[in-house]
């Protein structure tokens, strides 16, 4: 597995090629990209600054991937999460999961994203038309993560 927390941008094609690494047992690759929107809760967003907890972040994401591998048939998984100051249209996060079959790839990819939203120690601060503010945790994200515990 690969976990990277970085300021720089990423290219999904290059990352998928590296993750596949010529493995001919892979039949399915599910991926997700999160991007910065120009509007949040009705206010125009000019920038978004991401802070994290170095060390714990990587550990918690590795733990999430290990959990996914225990639940589904996962060949490999990659998480890249950006930090620092981003603007609308910028990529924030990439999750890629390779598997023999698509059902496992989709489920593991969504599981990892839901947990990234609710467990990985990242915090977002928005610069909006109404000033700077910390983004509040969303109840809908907690609900999305909760359903995997059933």
């Amino acid at each position: 597995m690969t976990v990277r927390v970085q300021e720089s941008d990423f290219d999904i094609s290059a990352e998928i090629a590296a993750l596949r690494a010529g493995n001919p047992k892979i039949g399915a690759i599910a991926s997700f990209i999160g991007v910065v929107r120009d509007l949040n809760e009705g206010d125009a967003v000019s920038t978004l600054t991401l802070e994290h907890y170095p060390g714990m972040t990587e550990k918690s994401i590795e733990d999430i991937i290990t959990q996914a591998r225990g639940r589904w048939q996962v060949m490999d998984a990659l998480v890249i999460h950006r930090i620092g100051t981003l603007k609308p249209l910028d990529q924030i996060v990439l999750v890629v999961v390779s598997s023999g079959h698509r059902g496992d790839a989709f489920a593991a990819c969504e599981f990892i994203m839901d947990y990234l939203k609710t467990r990985a120690p990242f915090w977002k601060k928005e610069q909006t038309s109404n000033g700077a503010r910390w983004v509040d945790a969303r109840a809908s994200d907690d609900a999305a993560a909760q359903r995997w515990r059933q």
Binding site: G34, L50, E51, H52, Y53, G55, M56, K59, S60, H81, I92, V93, M113, L116, K117, T118, R119, A120, P121, F122, W123, K124, K125, W134, V135, D136, A137, R138, D141
Partner: protein, 84 residues
């Protein structure tokens, strides 16, 4: 000594990102540390009140009030996470 870390909104409200703290006798849990800090009053009392929506980790693992804390540990307080 323990290392204390504060992130995001808590870091701003408390005016610092880290500090070293000598653990007094009898303080052996995360909630003990929280109560010690809250007793400083002001923003500490406000941000670390038991009813507030903060989270904590001990040695980089999510922790609850009963989690043991001992000399050498890294204890972090932060708001609910908003990554992804």
């Amino acid at each position: 000594m323990i290392t204390l870390l504060y992130f995001a909104r808590l870091r701003e409200a408390l005016g610092q990102s880290s500090e070293l703290l000598a653990l007094p006798n009898g303080v052996a849990t995360l909630d003990g540390v929280r109560a010690l800090l809250a007793a400083r009053g002001g923003a500490w009392a406000h941000e670390l009140a038991t009813g507030r929506a903060f989270r904590a980790a001990v040695n980089q693992a999510v922790a609850s009030g009963e989690t043991p804390v001992k000399d050498g540990d890294e204890v972090a307080f932060f708001p609910p996470v908003t990554g992804g």
